[in-house]
């Protein structure tokens, strides 16, 4: 039985007190406990940012990669050893800014990994510049006269990019987030969980309170059908007085791994390479 304690590292997180990242870490650990995943069979892959520090504080394998590059690394780890549970984490700048290209392509590819985005609508670790999800007009160090661009909409993009599991959580509601992460890991395919994560140091606008007053849960709306993409799109654009969290959309389709005869027998990493017979290849060249 995997326990919360064994997932907890001796080192304490260095996040600011009150930061939403704490809730995400707790939720992730609880989800792994709930799923009873052995800790050595989990790899957490991160980008760079406050969010990117997360893998340091969870006692699983971890690969702390480059800014924006968690997804290519995570997908390849899964392809090389699909018996592992691979969870990618990152920030909004990391995933939706510099990492946007990988994000879109990973979703259509549908490798069976879970992607948790700490969406604080700001660049935290670099001390407060606008992020791709910063709201229009938001003033930051890099946009002292207000952000001009409207924010990207990760949920809508995910729906357009053939993501097979699209959800949004809130760092201020850990039990709900645990459920989403559990579902995301259980889902066979690429699962996106965008997490509203207040940055208490640099984002004076999108605070815990801001979200407490606005969020509602999709699953509490009994009419909502998370297999209906058109409906999902409608909710994806809801951002203002009401902000939906929960599962927007889910579909079952083959994972990338499912389509690879190369690993239908066993994971790549278990295949012997000591003597590869290339006589045929040499022959073909003669």
């Amino acid at each position: 039985m995997t326990s919360f304690e064994e997932l907890t590292t001796k080192e304490r997180p260095t996040w600011c007190p009150g930061c939403g990242d704490w809730g995400i870490l707790t939720a992730l650990k609880k989800a792994l406990v709930e799923l009873n995943l052995p800790k050595h069979q989990v790899v957490v892959v991160a980008g760079i940012g406050c969010s990117g520090h997360l893998p340091q504080w969870i006692n699983t394998y971890a690969f702390h990669s480059l800014h924006g590059r968690a997804l290519p690394v995570a997908q390849a780890i899964k392809l090389a050893n699909h018996e592992l549970n691979v969870i990618a984490v990152g920030g909004d700048g990391d995933g939706y800014g510099i990492g946007m290209g990988h994000f879109i392509h990973a979703m259509r590819r549908n490798v069976n990994i879970t992607y948790i985005v700490h969406d604080n609508q700001i660049y935290g670790l670099t001390t407060g510049q606008a992020s791709p999800t910063s709201e229009k007009g938001f003033k930051t160090k890099s946009t002292p006269h207000g952000q001009i661009e409207p924010p990207v909409n990760p949920i809508a993009l995910a729906l357009s990019a053939d993501c097979s599991f699209v959800a949004r959580g809130f760092a201020g509601d850990v039990p709900h987030l645990v459920k989403l992460i559990v579902q995301g890991i259980q889902h066979k395919g690429f699962a996106l969980i965008d997490v509203l994560q207040p940055c208490v140091t640099f984002n004076y606008l999108n605070t815990f309170d801001y979200f407490y007053r606005r969020i509602y849960k999709l699953e509490e709306d009994s009419s909502y059908d998370p297999t209906n993409k058109q409906e999902a799109f409608k909710r994806a654009f809801e951002w203002g007085e009401r902000i939906p969290i929960g599962l927007f959309y889910k579909e079952n389709r083959k994972t990338y791994e499912d389509e690879l005869p190369q690993i239908s027998q066993m994971p790549l990493v278990k295949q012997k390479i000591d003597f590869v017979d290339i006589k045929n290849l040499i022959e073909e060249m003669c």
Binding site: G101, V276, C286
Partner: protein
């Protein structure tokens, strides 16, 4: 005559590549030694393409400047290449489509290629086969070797019928010339007996080397001249259980290779200069996380998009210093298809033993030119995965430190899924466990540890090869694909009684300092030969040994050296003592 060269020139997109390859292949099968090279512009159809095949009774390592038979499918082909045709050589051209006035000292062989193709085969494009047949009529060999090669090429892809049509068309070309030009002096060449040899280019050799090394994961984004590694491996992905992934860009490609390697499989990526630029950041990622990685950098002329389908050796310094910060890496520069194969195999061993990135640097000339060689000798090739922990060993480990500060600098490498060895791989500086650390002491330990690996590595690698005469007046130094033309030039110089030695730098990093010094220090005339503008290897030699080269033979028009160019420039040096 113990050799001859054949060249075909025409528009891109009309099968010239296949045609040239078939010609080469047929002679290889018949026991000859062959070297071919192609030239094509960066567009799909139209433009001017050439394919040059040199056939010899003895081993050949490059093309040569003089052409014995030119097949001209267009006027441009005549215009561009008539000067290359040797005295009493032949020009076969498409009568009715190509116009030629008499050319002094050259035998014109007008053949209605297209017409015959349409009559006998039905398709324009088969005129190339007519030309092949016509060519054989000028050579004193049994044309059956041609028909066999045609059959082999088309049978698999297009079926027996199409193969036969192609053969018929070739026969028609053969017979046409035989009949019309009865008095010609056929090219005489004799095989020393059939012998099984490979006819292979650098990219194929690299790909097969990787397969032999147990590469299980290849991620890449298409880029000339590296693309055919991707194509080749993709075609074998199911036979050898390799995941071959075309990614959204080169950044993803190298990160995927690193991810796969971290998870425990041998992984590679390949690209050309522009893509390599995009990969530079991740080189450092591999370095600091000590993840084994093999990167193929197939050069083409830059800067930027440059001449995308041509050749150059302009990225040496870039490869040496790419990525921010300081870390050890290995750079190997194969000079021929054999080195492509064996050094790729070695690259995987080195990458895993020393847990660092290895760059295999080639160029378009090496990547795409076919050469004959004995079948790769694979006995005794041994996979060495270095300090990789087996499941069993990992089980018994306590207090595992992924980045342990060892004497060799190499630390035990565990893989995710092993029970007692959970660790963090991080691009931030870290302590021995892999935990982020900004302490000066940890920093110094890790930097030193990483660099210490090179000390061990240096003792293991012999990074240079010497050819020819050690006491020669002239010592050539070069690297990579110039090897072929240089070896050929040495043969020519030898005939002129000019003694030459040639130091081939095979490993750029670790640089063979001692060997280079020992061969160059007393050399009278040191000549640098590089396919670039600035003489990059020369600058490295100066930096590492203090030795200045006396002369530089540099070429940067996007084309490979011919042996003759090298000979004439060396003669300049010897006669006029200047360049």
């Amino acid at each position: 005559m113990s050799e001859f060269s054949w060249k075909i020139g025409g528009e891109a997109g009309y099968g010239i590549m296949t045609t040239g390859f078939i010609l080469g292949k047929s002679f290889v099968r018949a026991g000859f030694f062959v070297f071919d090279t192609n030239e094509y512009p960066s567009l799909i159809r139209g433009g001017h393409n050439t394919y040059t095949v040199r056939i010899s009774e003895d081993p050949v390592f490059s093309h040569s400047k003089k052409i014995d038979i030119l097949v001209a499918l267009t006027d441009i082909a005549i215009e561009k290449h008539k000067k290359e045709v040797r005295k009493d050589g032949f020009i076969i051209y498409d009568e009715g489509f190509v116009n030629v006035k008499e050319l002094k000292g050259i035998n014109l062989i007008p053949v209605p290629l297209t017409k015959i193709a349409i009559e006998k085969g039905g398709q324009n494009i088969m005129r190339n086969n007519v030309a092949l047949g016509a060519s054989f009529a000028l050579i004193d060999v049994d044309p059956e070797i041609l028909y066999d090669a045609i059959r082999d090429t088309f049978k698999g892809k297009k079926g027996e019928d199409i193969a036969q049509t192609n053969i018929n068309v070739a026969k028609a070309g053969y017979e046409y010339v035989l009949e019309k030009f009865q008095n010609i002096n056929k090219i005489k060449i004799k095989s020393n007996g059939k012998q099984k040899r490979m006819y292979i280019n650098g990219n194929e050799a690299i790909a097969i080397g990787a397969i032999k090394a147990g590469c299980k994961f290849y991620a890449a984004y298409p880029m000339t001249p590296a693309s055919s590694i991707l194509h080749y491996l993709a075609s074998k992905e199911n036979d050898y259980n390799i995941i071959v992934k075309q990614t959204e860009d080169e950044i993803a490609a190298i990160h995927m290779a690193i991810g796969a390697s971290f998870a425990g499989v041998r992984a590679m990526t390949g690209t050309s200069g522009g893509g390599f630029s995009l990969m530079t950041e991740a080189l450092g990622l591999a370095a600091i996380t000590e993840t084994p990685l093999v990167v193929v950098l197939a050069q083409r002329p830059g800067p930027s998009t440059g001449l995308p389908t041509h050749t150059e050796q302009g990225d040496l310094r870039f490869a040496m210093h790419a990525s921010n910060g300081e870390f050890p890496r290995v750079i190997v520069a194969p000079g021929d298809v054999n080195e492509c194969f064996y050094e790729t195999f070695n690259a995987f061993n080195i990458a895993e033993k020393y847990q660092l990135p290895v760059i295999i640097i080639t160029d378009k000339f090496l990547a795409e030119s076919h050469a004959t060689t004995d079948p790769f000798f694979i006995d005794g090739m041994k996979i060495d995965r270095g300090q990789l922990l087996s499941e069993d060993k990992a089980k018994n480990i306590q207090d595992y430190k992924r980045y342990e500060n060892t004497i060799s600098g190499i630390s035990l490498r565990a893989l995710p899924s092993q029970e007692n060895t959970i660790f963090k791989a991080a691009t931030d500086e870290h302590d021995e466990y892999g935990r982020l650390s900004e302490e000066p002491a940890d920093r110094i330990i890790q930097v030193d540890k990483r660099f210490r690996k090179m000390k061990v590595l240096e003792t293991e690698i012999d990074g240079a090869k010497f050819y020819g005469d050690k006491d020669a007046e002239v010592i050539i130094v070069s690297w990579g694909s110039t090897k072929g033309p240089i070896l050929e030039a040495m043969k020519l110089l030898h005939k002129k009684d000019i003694k030459v030695g040639f130091l081939q730098i095979l490993y750029i990093i670790p640089f063979p300092v001692n060997k280079t010094k020992s061969f160059l220090e007393d050399a009278k005339k040191k000549i640098l030969i590089e396919n670039n503008k600035t003489g990059q290897l020369g600058s490295v030699i100066k930096e590492k040994t203090g030795i200045d080269m006396d002369y530089k033979i540099l070429k940067y028009d996007g084309r490979p050296f011919t042996p003759e160019e090298i000979v004439s420039q060396i003669e300049e040096v010897l006669i006029h003592d200047k360049l």
